[in-house]
Amino acid sequence: MLTCKQFLSELSDYLDEKTSAEVKAKLQRHITECPNCWVICDTTKKTIQVYKGMESCTIPEDVHSRLMAAVERKIAACKKQ
């Protein structure tokens, strides 16, 4: 039986489906027997999912305007050379 610490150290690979079949079976056995680790596994999976669904970041309008103006100047300067 895995310890909870061993389970935690493999959790990311388990959620990313990167573990070997043998390790996966051990991890699955652990969460059927350890309610705490089941909760941690389930809520970590949901954590990843809520961030995947997060609205894409918007850039502040003033930062965007200055970037576009600066890049335009850069492109014009490159063309002159």
Binding site: L11, N36, I75
Partner: protein, 212 residues
């Protein structure tokens, strides 16, 4: 809105990307602007994550796109344009940090893991649909506040890997970390975020109980 628990598809570069890069290489400024519009938000967020300073982040953003434009000829299309420009932006951001603390070399790998950040403090089942409890703005506020509370290296690894959808190998490459270093930071970031979000999303009536 229910939480989608199906695995997200791997992030693919949009199919028009190579064409846009080719046109930009040929001097088409409009094509380069399309690439900027596509990635400026992510690059700015990344620069904020690393520098923790809006002014520096804006400098990094501009310098990254300048450098990308100057070196477009070197972009071979073997990687996604996004991973290429992320690598440029990370280097620019690290240079900013070095200038700020000119007496020592800084890398994203400098923070030593003590193991204490692996501790799980709150274990409680979540509401099946926590997003129903909050408005979209409140939800975004909660997620942003939680991620802002992480150390820069955890924030950066989590954002690239789990929000932007880069692979572990791509994340390692752009941050100049080893694959095991990315994995260990990703695990810590995920566990810390889970801990922070549990305070908001735990099922009503469930008390957290001690773990380990």
């Amino acid at each position: 809105m229910a939480i989608d628990t199906t695995p997200a598809p791997p992030a693919e570069a949009p199919s028009d990307e190579l064409d846009l890069v080719a046109r930009a290489k040929a001097g088409d400024g409009a094509a380069f602007s399309v690439l900027i519009n596509r990635y400026e938000g992510k690059i700015f967020r990344l620069a904020m994550n690393i520098t923790q300073n809006r002014e520096d982040a804006e400098d990094v953003l501009q310098e990254a796109f300048f450098k990308a434009y100057e070196h477009l000829a070197q972009f071979q299309g073997n990687s996604k344009f996004y991973t290429w420009i992320v690598r440029i932006a990370v280097n620019q951001a690290l240079m900013k940090l070095r200038k700020r603390k000119s007496d020592r070399t800084i890398s994203l790998d400098e923070q030593i893991d003590t193991g204490e950040d692996m501790v799980v403090r709150e274990v409680a089942a979540w509401d099946p649909d926590p997003e129903e409890r909050y408005s979209r703005d409140e939800m975004n506020g909660i997620l942003t506040e939680a991620i802002d509370g992480l150390l820069p290296i955890y924030k950066t690894v989590f954002t690239l890997r789990d929000v932007d959808g880069l692979s572990t190998e791509e994340t390692a490459e752009v941050l100049d970390l080893t694959v095991p270093a990315v994995k260990s930071r990703l695990l810590r970031a995920r566990l810390q975020l889970r801990d922070k979000l549990t305070r908001f999303f735990k099922r009503k009536g469930d008390d957290a109980f001690a773990y380990m």
